[in-house]
């Protein structure tokens, strides 16, 4: 204890000393503005910083939970298990990477698809789990997406997909590349049926996912300041050998360049998409 602390009144000293007893994770620092935020309050705010509106990345389940009505919900393709057609191994086996990702996320692959309701109207909603191998698209992701499209066609309802992905899943090699063709073909069928597809681009949406289903929305909508593009910024920097301008490949940049329809704050997404879909589907405004 330094001479200075001796001079302090007791109350201040105790506060300093008890800091170690605060449970981990109760407070969190905003990556946007460095403000220290109360975790529970941040969650109530849809994981958007109340100070600077920074949109934190969120899990697929939580994403869908915030978006859909609480009831009814039915998961599609939950039992699908990834194959390992090439018995791929780099420094680790693909099988082991899958198991590790399943353990950390509680998901068995990188896309969750639910049939449910949005303000009492039928909808199919899909969300990428970025924590599962970078939200990469392999065969299970592709198949679940197709199941989602088929359910939307069967129920004649819209499809919404929240993208968050680094791209194709290298460990499945050409099988993963073909998921781009597969998901795009499914969306072609949805479009032929006159049913809307809304693609919500969240941080980050890159590579093969961006170059297929994510850019094929009747409406492409982004959350604020999400990184969205085909090639990653580092790859581009290495190619053109110059520093990229600030805001490059961010939502606001894409809006300016005409690539997306709207940027919508996460806290307004549910309300706004319900209105948009009610117009596209010729229904009365949502209650």
């Amino acid at each position: 204890m330094s001479w200075f602390e001796n001079l302090l009144p007791g109350r201040i000293r105790t506060e300093g000393g008890s800091r170690k007893t605060i449970p981990q994770g109760l407070w969190t620092k905003c990556p946007g503005c460095a403000a220290v935020l109360y975790r529970a309050e941040l969650e109530r705010n849809h994981d958007v910083c109340p100070k600077c509106d920074h949109h934190n990345r969120i899990d697929a389940r939580r994403r869908l939970d915030l978006f859909l009505d609480p009831e009814p919900r039915e998961e599609l393709g939950a039992d699908l298990q990834s194959g390992d057609p090439l018995r791929f191994r780099d420094s680790k086996k693909y099988k082991d990477r899958l198991t590790a990702a399943q353990k950390t996320t509680g998901e068995n692959d990188a896309l969750v698809v639910l049939r449910g309701k949005l303000k009492a109207q039928a909808i199919v909603a899909a969300a990428f789990e970025f924590k599962f191998m970078g939200g990469s698209m392999g065969s299970v992701v592709g198949e679940r997406f197709v199941l989602g499209v088929q359910a939307a066609i069967k129920q004649r309802c819209p499809l919404v997909c929240f993208a968050a992905s680094g791209g194709a899943r290298m460990q499945e090699s050409l099988f993963s590349l073909m998921q781009m063709a597969k998901t795009s073909a499914a969306l072609n069928q949805l479009a032929q049926q006159g049913l809307p597809f809304i693609s919500v681009l969240t941080d980050p949406t890159m590579g093969g996912v961006s170059a297929s289903l994510a850019m094929l929305g009747d409406l492409n909508i982004a959350e604020p300041n999400a990184l969205i593009g085909f090639a990653g910024p580092r790859v581009i920097e290495q190619t053109v050998r110059e520093t990229l301008p600030a805001g490059f490949q961010r939502s606001e940049f894409l809006l300016e360049k005409g690539a997306i329809d709207q940027i919508i704050d996460r806290r307004q997404l549910r309300d706004q998409l319900a209105i948009t879909l009610s117009i596209l589907c010729h229904r009365a405004p949502p209650a």
């Binding site: 194709a168 899943r169 499945e172 090699s173 063709a181 597969k182 032929q192 170059a211 969205i228 360049k257």
Partner: protein, 318 residues
Amino acid sequence: MNLDFLEFEQPIAEMLAKIEELRMMGNDSQVDIQDEIARLEAKSKALTASIFSRLTPWQTTQLARHPLRPYTLDYIEQIVDDFQELHGDRSFADDPSIVAGIGRLAGKPLMLIGHQKGRNTQQKIRRNFGMPRPEGYRKALRLLQMAERFRLPVVTFIDTPGAYPGVGAEERGQSEAIARNLFVMAGLRTPIVAVVIGEGGSGGALAIGVADRVLMLQYGTYSVISPEGCASILWKDAAKADLAAEAMAITASDLKQQGLIDEIIPEPTGGAHRDYATMANNLKAAMVDALEPLVTELPDLLMENRQKRLLAYGAFSA
């Protein structure tokens, strides 16, 4: 070292140089060395066959990128009659890394679209090393839709390291351009045959590769990411590209085995670049064969079958 030959081809280069030397000698000496030349030629052929019978996936990758390998326009010249190249996406520019146009294949009209690489430095830069920008894909899109309108079957030639990763390409929507082509090709009511003639580099290749039949030249490659790219991400070392090439199973024979392509088009001994004419003949025959059953199909049925095929891609269990 002969730069027209890859490292593993050097023994062949040496042998050919020796034959050439003998020929020169034969010209100004009285000795008849024709027998010796014939003997060496046979030996060189056997050597080539032996080297090419046990290529590693990485060596195949190098062959697919061989500086002498025939490119789209080389094949068009030999295969397509009355070819008319058509330019431009009608909104921004003409992208020379994709060539497209109409012509005749064995007397029948068709639309041909392919990646184009450059041969010398100047051409390489003009063709952007075969890496298209969005306007290239949008030119392809425009002509795909035109092909549907005029009931022209489409053949595409795939030969690209990938879509160009540049600032302008991103600004003009590289992702959307690729995605749109996948979407439209999946629903096109005219036959599409895609042929991987060299490098099938990821989304940039697939963007003109959605088809009723996918063919591949014997020493072509087709992969979700370049072996170097895969190695630098998964092995943290681009020099491990040979391992990545092996792990990703990117050769024609591997992909055929997995049911991801329909047919392998054989290359002449020593690869397509050693005999353009034979290669062009093989390619032409394969194109004619692939198109034949497709052109008589009803357009709606054709498209439905294509979609069924696309939706069946995947390796998973329930």
